[in-house]
Amino acid sequence: MKTYRLKIKPQGSFLTLWQADTVFGNLCWIMAWREGGDTLKEFLAEYKNGNPAVVLSDGMPGDFLPSPAHLSLVEQKGEGFAAYKKAKELKKVGWLTPEIFQSVRNGNLDINPAQDAKTFKTFITLHSSINRISGTTGEEGSLFELEEHALSESEQFISIYLKIKDGWEEKVFALFKNLSLTGYGKKKSVGKGAFDIIGQLELFHGFNDFKGSNGFMSLSNFVPAKNDPTDGFYKTLVKYGKLGGEFTFCGKPFKKPLMMLTYGSSFKVNGNIKPFYGRMVENIAPVKSEVVQYGYSFAVPVRLEKI
């Protein structure tokens, strides 16, 4: 597997965050529509076997990379008010510049990141439907709110990092190209999640292994596999997933709630660090037994000090 970066330029706001599992689900629908359900089935079978063709990171703002979960805990080990204050500050840091990220990766946790790195923003918009008889909007019951997200002005693009099995590069790029024509996430038919792809897949060397690495940090939300490392630092989120494509209309389009570890989670590893951890989650949708949930972790080697 080689590591690539894909730059995506949103054309406006989006309702669905750029989380690896959701992006993956969107790509699967493209594959099913363009190449048929059997091709998708074969593609997913390899994922169930622990042999994924492509592993995705969550979408990152510009060149920024996530702050690892262990960062603030290190300082808490120190004594006195200063250590406490620093730990509190570090907890608020969501994103690191590539330089600081590399430094943290190498085990240097005494950093001074910008506190106010503006990356994504969230806001509420109000919408209404047109009454077909009166021809006007704004009547009782027709108003609804949407929570939307957008990239901050300071950032020009979203980065998605990919580990791709040799020979799959063109295919993966074509899927993204098709997705850019379809739109990403909720409300795509009214242009939400519309995006352009900037350039091509770029080889990326910023996550190479180095001497002294003894753990990994995940760049995607994921579900650990049975034999994955357990000694680490993490936050969790509960995902209330929904089925996509035609499956949206099956009557019960909801997936079971699923606990995931968030991007930024870091774990100690004995021996070689694998390119990915995590797994596919099966039996996630009560009425569609064939549906699986992507839960792979995009792993980046790090040095974890004893905490």
Binding site: Q11, G12, S13, I30, W33, R34, G36, K121, F123, I124, T125, L126, H127, S129, I130, N131, R132, I133, S134, G135, T137, E148, A150, L151, S152, E153, K177, N178, L181, T182, G183, K187, K188, S189, V190, G191, K192, A194, G245, E246, T248, F249, G251
Partner: protein
């Protein structure tokens, strides 16, 4: 369902009168100024036409068109899942759902119009919109009612936006029929209006340089 191809429909929306698509109280607009501000892009702060407004208007006009086969007895969008509106724009009901064929992107202001409005902002302080004051006339006295003055922000006439629509066509879809249907929707808006206060002359638009192209 096999996705056969994508078709793009592009053009320029030219405002022949002031256009008003309202903003919201939270989040997007800046405080102060006119109380009835227009919608502005969260990132650029420039006025834009949301894809939802264009799509919603097209859909509602097509539904009220006799030939569509749509069912609008209760004033709500059709959910039959079988008429052409439901097929192209997506069905609102839970039964007989269809994959939405149309994708209407937000229409952003053209470079040309942005330059014009930027100049107007620098020279005259116009903030990418004109403020229109309207009085409510007291029916008895015939003069403007006390407290009846209201101000509305509008995108000035002459402003242009670029329109970008994509159609997903699956095997078995009648391409000509679907493309013509969208063209008809756009035609109906030009006869009607976009945004609010159409009965007072707002929102008259003309679509220029309409192009239909295969994408992939």
């Amino acid at each position: 369902m096999k996705l056969r191809k994508f078709v793009s429909i592009t053009g320029t929306i030219h405002c022949e009168s002031g256009l008003r698509i309202g903003g919201t109280k939270e989040g997007i607009i800046e405080p102060g100024g006119s109380e009835n501000t227009i919608l502005r892009h969260p990132i650029t702060s420039l006025p834009y036409i949301p894809g939802s407004s264009l799509k919603g208007k097209m859909r509602s006009l097509l539904e009220t068109d006799a030939s569509s086969g749509a069912n609008i007895d209760n004033g709500r969008p059709c959910g039959c899942g079988t008429c052409l509106v439901c097929k192209v724009f997506g069905s609102h009901g839970m039964a007989h759902k269809e994959i939405t064929r149309i994708l209407v992107r937000d229409c952003v202001i053209t470079d040309k119009s942005e330059t014009v409005l930027r100049t107007a902002q620098e020279e005259k302080g116009v903030n990418f919109a004109e403020i229109k004051s309207e009085n409510i006339i007291d029916r008895k006295s015939g003069i403007a009612a006390k407290g009846g003055l209201r101000t509305q922000e509008r995108v000035p006439s002459g402003t242009e936006f670029s329109m970008n629509i994509t159609l997903k066509l699956f095997d078995g879809d009648n391409e000509g029929q679907i493309v013509d249907f969208v063209r008809k929707g756009l035609d109906l808006i030009q006869k009607d209006y976009l945004g609010s206060s159409g009965s007072r002359g707002y929102g008259k638009i003309k679509i220029e340089n309409l192009e239909v192209n295969d994408l992939a």
